[in-house]
């Protein structure tokens, strides 16, 4: 099978996978009960890796959390693997992702769906180096505890030499990366800063 065709099939598989995830919050599939589909003990997503995590954020409001995330240029402030995100017109954004040994790779994404204050879903445009989709959902937490923020990311590395580097990047515990990114987001929103035990400023980054 040619890589191109493979990718097309993969995109189809991903669409099905993410759809299932979207449904799971309102209408849980049998087998996982109230738990998100991704916690099921089987791989439902073919060659796609899907990772997801939920945190509860006490403040600010759901609307403000949504607005902060919706401005994709804010993402590098708490996503460790992102160097920069810039708008490239037509509602598209170019993500500059750190790739070990490769410097960085860029992926252009578009908004796949959006519900004001509730959900942002994005996906890489056709022909991207990394085939990826992500969604972040914002729900009111019970008992006035703020907002539950759930991040789900699915991706498939490309073939070839660059693919090896990116696969390496993605294997750098993507589950861990998603978890840590989300927690940095929580800390930044709740406290206005990201905690560190470094006694000196990181001069390279600033």
């Amino acid at each position: 099978m040619k890589p191109r065709a493979q990718a097309a099939i993969a995109v189809g598989a991903l669409a099905v996978g993410l759809l299932a995830l979207t449904r799971s919050s309102s209408n849980p599939p049998s087998g996982t009960g109230g738990a998100p589909g991704r916690t099921a003990r089987r791989d439902r997503f073919g060659r796609y890796r899907v990772v997801g995590k939920t945190v509860t954020i006490a403040k600010p409001s759901r609307t403000e959390l949504f607005a902060f995330w919706r401005d994709f240029t804010n993402l590098p402030r708490f996503m460790e693997n992102l160097n920069a995100v810039k708008p490239v017109g037509n509602g598209r954004f170019e993500w500059e992702i750190v790739a070990p040994g490769e410097g960085s790779v860029t992926v252009v994404t578009e908004i796949a769906s959006e519900r004001q204050g509730e959900l942002i879903a994005w996906r890489s445009v056709e022909g991207s180096t990394i085939d990826t989709e992500g969604r972040v959902a914002f729900r009111d937490a019970p008992g006035d505890r703020g907002t539950q923020v759930e991040l789900v990311v699915a991706y498939s590395p490309p073939a070839g030499t660059l693919g090896v580097a990116i696969a390496k990047l993605l294997q750098r515990e993507p589950e861990m990366q998603a978890r840590r990114d989300l927690r940095r987001f929580k800390a930044l929103m709740e406290t206005g800063e990201i905690p560190t035990s470094n006694n000196q400023l990181d001069r390279e980054k600033n």
Binding site: A58, S197, N199
Partner: protein
């Protein structure tokens, strides 16, 4: 700056480090005027707490003068402050409930995951402890960077108060107080405290202030038992008598209403299972750590209360779960929520209700900190508390 630095097991030295900088907006930099060695520092010293690296600056009981503030700090240069050893953001769900040692943000994301694996949920950041509690450089130094400086540090406005009167607000005084609070003492109660170390003595003192009728302190160091007697407590030397038999007789066969397990370990968690065994042998606590708790569970009266300050990190086997259930005991425990208690305890110090200076046995310049560690560890009967003075 100069700072007490961990180099390896029983190898600490005062080294030169770069001065800390303001890194985050809510930071402040404190010039340390007084800092103490905590019993838990001895476990770092003995190399039994995982996640302590060569080059780490130790110390989590400190106070000093504000010399620099970030844009989000509410402190002012020149203010005199005592800093809680638990680092807490003040805005998360847990801080909002005054459960500061459970702060969800202060332990950096890449460091907190080990405690999450051990305990199911991550714990807060602590100064000068392990990288599992954030790896924050500690207070046995000339300067400390204090995160969330608008939340933790308590300003000491009364210049008549000496450093030594307020220094222990950073850890052991609130820890002793919370241990007594967790014992839910009622007027007329008899309270038994295992361990006459700093936390045990402060817990005993707190129990008295909470109107316990009798406080009985159990240890084997004669001098420490004298300190307990000086607080108006009765004492039991476990080398000389059978503790359970003695407590039963002293309470007319009922048993103490509340028991507090503050035996010498004073670890702020994280001493994992086999580490605990090494600690038992090397710190010279005499008794099996968990055996004090097991003894307390059997000694306490039916329907009584069991308080366990944050001294356990690992697991224990042969835990008398049956005694706990059949006797209907209530358990209170946790790493100290220091920020919750500082104001109240400072007021009690100012009113003369609490004096903590009786505990201090030795005062040393920071440069002699390594000797302080060795003596505090090896001469526990006499070296009850060491205060270090940077810049002297």
């Amino acid at each position: 700056m100069r700072a007490l630095t961990y180099h390896g097991k029983k190898d600490v030295r005062v080294d030169t480090h770069p001065d800390p900088e303001i890194v985050n907006p809510r930071d402040a930099i404190i010039r340390v005027t007084s800092t103490a060695i905590c019993g838990s520092d001895l476990h770092l010293y003995d190399g039994v707490i995982p996640g302590v690296l060569s080059g780490d600056i130790l110390g989590h009981e400190f106070m000093g003068e504000v010399v620099e503030t970030g844009s989000g700090s509410t402190l002012k240069k020149g203010q005199r402050v005592v800093v809680p050893f638990t680092i807490a953001c003040g805005t998360c769900f847990f801080c909002d409930k005054h459960q500061y040692s459970a702060c969800d943000n202060s332990n950096p994301v890449d460091k907190r995951e080990i405690s999450e694996t051990l305990y199911g949920q991550p714990m807060s950041g602590l100064f000068g402890y392990s990288h599992m509690t954030g790896g924050y450089p500690g207070g046995q130094a000339e300067y400390v960077r204090v995160p969330y400086s608008d939340v933790g540090p308590i300003v000491i406005e009364n210049d008549d108060l000496e450093d030594e009167q307020v220094l222990f607000l950073s850890d052991i005084l609130p820890t002793g107080w919370m241990a007594a609070e967790n014992a839910q003492i009622e007027p007329g109660d008899t309270v038994a405290v295992w361990g006459a170390g700093p936390v045990g003595l402060f817990a005993a003192q707190s129990a008295k202030l909470m109107n316990a009728a009798r406080v009985i302190v159990i240890d084997h160091y004669p001098h420490r038992l004298e300190l307990a007697a000086g607080l108006g407590c009765e004492t039991i030397n476990f080398h000389d008598v059978d503790v359970r038999e003695a407590l039963n007789e002293m309470t007319g066969g009922i048993g103490p209403d509340a028991v507090i397990d503050a035996v010498g370990m004073e670890a702020h968690g994280f001493a994992v299972d086999n580490m605990l065994d090494i600690a038992k042998q090397t710190v010279g606590m005499g008794a099996d750590r968990a055996s004090a708790l097991k003894q307390a569970l059997l000694a306490v009266r039916k329907g009584g209360r069991v308080s366990i300050p944050g001294v356990y990190g690992g697991m224990t086997d042969k835990f008398p779960l049956g005694a706990l259930m059949e006797k209907g005991l209530k358990i209170g425990t946790g790493q100290t929520h220091v920020q919750k208690y500082t104001k109240k305890l400072l007021a009690m110090i100012e009113e003369g209700k609490i004096d903590t200076t009786f505990l201090i046995s030795h005062r040393l310049p920071l440069e002699q900190a390594a000797d302080g560690y060795a003596n505090f560890r090896n001469k526990q009967n006499d070296w009850t508390k060491v205060v270090l003075k940077p810049g002297t």
